[in-house]
Symmetry: C2
Subunit: 228 residues, 2 copies
């Protein structure tokens, strides 16, 4: 599908997203207004929290795992973190005021605008593939399928444990934390292929490791304990 | 070894430890002052943080994992949590002012004074069994060995992954969290047999599960992903 791609220059810029990179992702030649996340229009209505989560996790640097006092500025756009310290300084983001550990976390989450938008699209596609997910509107269905192939209900699995994910788990929360989190197969690569949803506990267990490293690690444990 | 067992009545009581349960754990018939943690005297000198960690983790309800704003009163003695809400109320601890999740976490950590003291003793023994641990004084060595058998350097393993633990990891910390944590084989049983040390990442991965449940869980993952 060819996309419109017109710059969305009238978007309100925040301090932590000072670059004019936003574009229209509706189909080329569309009527009406340009839109950045047209495929989220349906989820935004029936499940606004999920839609916001997809937008936030795909485009922003922060994650629930390090929301703490010393986490530094929250919700910087990932593509802003591709700029140099000097460029950021000119934009009013003083990286040298942050703790080194915070800087390294922010830099680890850097990704291009296009990567982020691909992630958002793919997460939306994955959401519709979950058991008990609502059906997408025909328009959104054909939009997403043109990029990722047929949407098959119940086919979306946890990135870590590979068990099916249930859409209803988005609404569940323990200790204030959602039961489904956005996860990375390889922690420092924010691409559609590398990002997916995972059970919260699976994501926690995976930690900073890649999924492959996690499998190798748990295999070693089972071998060492004689459980294999 | 028969212990002195005299009550330590002159101990300063805090709001969250209002019961006079503390006793002397020196050998019966000892000379000099009574002492609650005589076997920690050496670690308290050469590694005060480890000694404090053992005292704290064995006797108090809190853990680093839930140090957050809504965690409620910090460092309640575990045996205090065996009292009823009414008894606690009389002591100035208002359980009904706390969030239910905090109450349940506090109650989960309840243990008798004797259980706590056995845990402290066993954790000290485990510490001396770690690779690169300092040698205990002869007095402490024979004290601990009389309860748990010979101290063998390098024999202490992580409660979860069963790989050897290194004493030097006590001093290591990532993101402000120590690399060795106190862990429970079964999360809600605070006994010497059930408590040990674990790598921080192993403890995190174990989460609220028992170690057995954790092994079963990771085995399922490996089976599902075809890694076995």
């Amino acid at each position: 599908m060819k996309l419109c791609g017109k710059p969305l220059r009238n978007r309100a810029n925040s301090k932590y997203d000072p670059l004019d990179l936003h574009r229209c992702f509706r189909e080329d030649g569309h009527s009406g207004k340009c839109e950045e996340f047209p495929y989220l229009r349906h989820l935004a209505t029936c499940s606004p929290k999920v839609a916001k989560k997809i937008m936030r996790d795909s485009t922003k640097t922060t994650g629930a795992a390090w929301k703490s006092e010393d986490a530094g500025p929250n919700r910087i756009s990932r593509w802003v973190m591709l700029l140099s310290d000097q460029e950021l300084n000119a934009l009013g983001i003083k990286m040298d005021m942050l703790k080194p550990i915070v800087v390294s976390k922010l830099r680890d989450k850097a990704a291009t605008y296009d990567q982020c938008m691909n992630v958002a699209m793919n997460l939306t596609y994955s959401t519709y593939g979950m058991a008990h997910a609502p059906a997408p509107t025909p328009e959104i269905k054909s939009y997403l399928e043109s990029f990722f192939g047929p949407i098959v209900g119940g086919s979306t699995v946890c990135l870590v444990c590979k068990a099916p994910l249930d859409y209803d788990d988005f609404a569940l929360a323990r200790r204030g934390k959602a039961e489904i989190e956005t996860a990375h197969s390889s922690p420092r690569s924010h691409t559609a292929k590398n990002v997916g949803f995972a059970h919260r506990l699976c994501n926690i267990a995976q930690g900073d490791r890649s999924v492959k490293e996690f499998y190798a690690w748990i295999k070693t444990i089972l071998q060492r304990t004689g459980e294999l």
